[in-house]
């Protein structure tokens, strides 16, 4: 934040909503709530709960949720299970590629505290230390009803303006960055980016 001080005016605080749009904020919130496009990052066992969620029985498209191939167009990032350090690198890069506002829904107990992999050398214990989670669904593995409930919860939170993980990520970026660098070592982004360049 040191270089931002030259700008003076904001004192490092970033304002996301333009003053002119304040009037339309309820409309935007409703629109965001009703058009969640998902980036389904099918890690772990929750990927198997996605097909019943998408098909006729639970059918999340009636809530305006749509599977979406590109993180640039996504709003809702589903992390469907345990996260290894290697996956976490991809998750962080994908999360940062998404446009604001973006929401993150973590399935199951593994992203919360490691779950059954609590003493595994290769599973990240608290995902919240590395990227902000908006809603976490407990369970191993949550059934589609529970996932549906989590999605309803995130919609309620968006309406109330409480789903602010993307703001928290910006405001506390140094904290998240410090934790990420501690896990992966300094300069991991540059190394990863070099490997990704061929596909981007």
């Amino acid at each position: 934040m040191a270089e931002r001080k030259d700008f003076g005016e904001n004192d490092g605080v970033i304002h996301y909503e333009l003053q002119e749009f304040k009037l339309f904020e309820p409309l935007f919130k409703w629109a965001r709530k009703k058009s969640l496009w998902i980036v389904a990052f099918c890690t772990g066992c929750g990927g198997i709960e996605m097909p019943p969620l998408a098909t006729a029985r639970y059918d999340f498209e009636r809530f305006g949720i749509m599977p979406n191939p590109a993180p640039r167009m996504g709003d809702l990032f589903l992390i469907t299970g345990y996260v290894t350090p290697k996956t976490l690198k991809r998750i962080i890069i994908t999360y940062e590629m998404m446009q604001d506002p973006k929401y993150l829904l973590a399935h199951g107990s593994c992203p919360i505290n490691g779950g059954v992999y609590w003493d595994s050398y290769n599973v990240v214990k608290q995902l919240d230390k590395y990227i902000p989670i908006d809603v976490a669904i407990a369970g191993c593995m949550p059934r589609p009803e529970a996932v549906m409930d989590g999605i309803m919860e995130i919609m309620r939170k968006i309406e109330r303006g409480e789903a602010d993980g993307w703001k928290r990520y910006r405001e506390n970026y140094e904290y998240y960055r410090r934790n990420q660098d501690k896990l992966f070592g300094e300069g991991w982004r540059e190394k990863e980016a070099k490997r990704w360049l061929a596909w981007i």
Binding site: N113, W118, D119, S120, Y121, N122, V124, L183
Partner: protein
């Protein structure tokens, strides 16, 4: 002497191979390789125990009937101080699955590579090398493979790898399985 010979004969009588497809398979292989022991576990499953210094000869011989290498798995016997390396072979022509077991000491874990018999062994040997630290002599690509570089040196699937202290060093020690009052162990 005579007695001993008789005893051995009786024992051979007891562990005689069954008169099935699997028994014939094992018998044919054992006749060619007298250093190996073979047995039939059940239908379509056969087992061989081979000393480590002859493993390459045996696998070369076995590859005539067992055309496919499915997997190389390793068991860490900490008390015995040994690794048990299991080559799992599949015979497409006979429809039989063979476990070829061999034991090597944990301190000096070295085996010849079988890449010249099955080129696919390269990946399995790299995996066994990374997780257990077994050196397959002749495999050109041994080295860091799947894990993070810091885990490569530690061989995390060895039984004497202290998982919990490593986890606490990497992910922070603010997680445990106690409840909020730190009195009850939760799981």
């Amino acid at each position: 002497m005579d007695m001993n010979g008789k005893m051995r004969e009786e024992k051979v009588e007891e562990t005689k191979l069954p008169d099935t497809k699997e028994g014939k398979l094992v018998k044919a292989l054992i006749e060619k390789a007298s250093y190996a022991e073979g047995s039939v576990r059940r239908e379509r499953r056969v087992e061989f125990n081979v000393p480590a210094e002859r493993i390459h000869d045996f696998l070369e011989l076995a590859s005539e009937t067992f055309e496919m290498l499915m997997q190389i798995s390793v068991v860490d016997w900490l008390k015995e101080g040994e690794f048990e390396v299991v080559y799992q072979l599949w015979s497409v022509s006979e429809g039989a699955h063979a476990f070829v077991r061999t034991r090597i000491s944990r301190e000096d874990a070295k085996l010849p590579t079988v890449m010249d018999i099955w080129p696919v062994a390269e990946t399995y040997e790299r995996e066994a090398h990374e997780f257990f630290g077994i050196i397959f002599e002749g495999n050109p690509r041994l080295g860091p493979f799947i894990l993070e570089p810091r885990e490569y040196e530690k061989h995390p699937l060895r039984k004497d790898f202290n998982m919990l202290s490593y986890v606490k060093a990497i992910y922070g020690d603010d997680f445990d399985r106690y409840d909020e009052s730190k009195t009850n162990y939760v799981i």
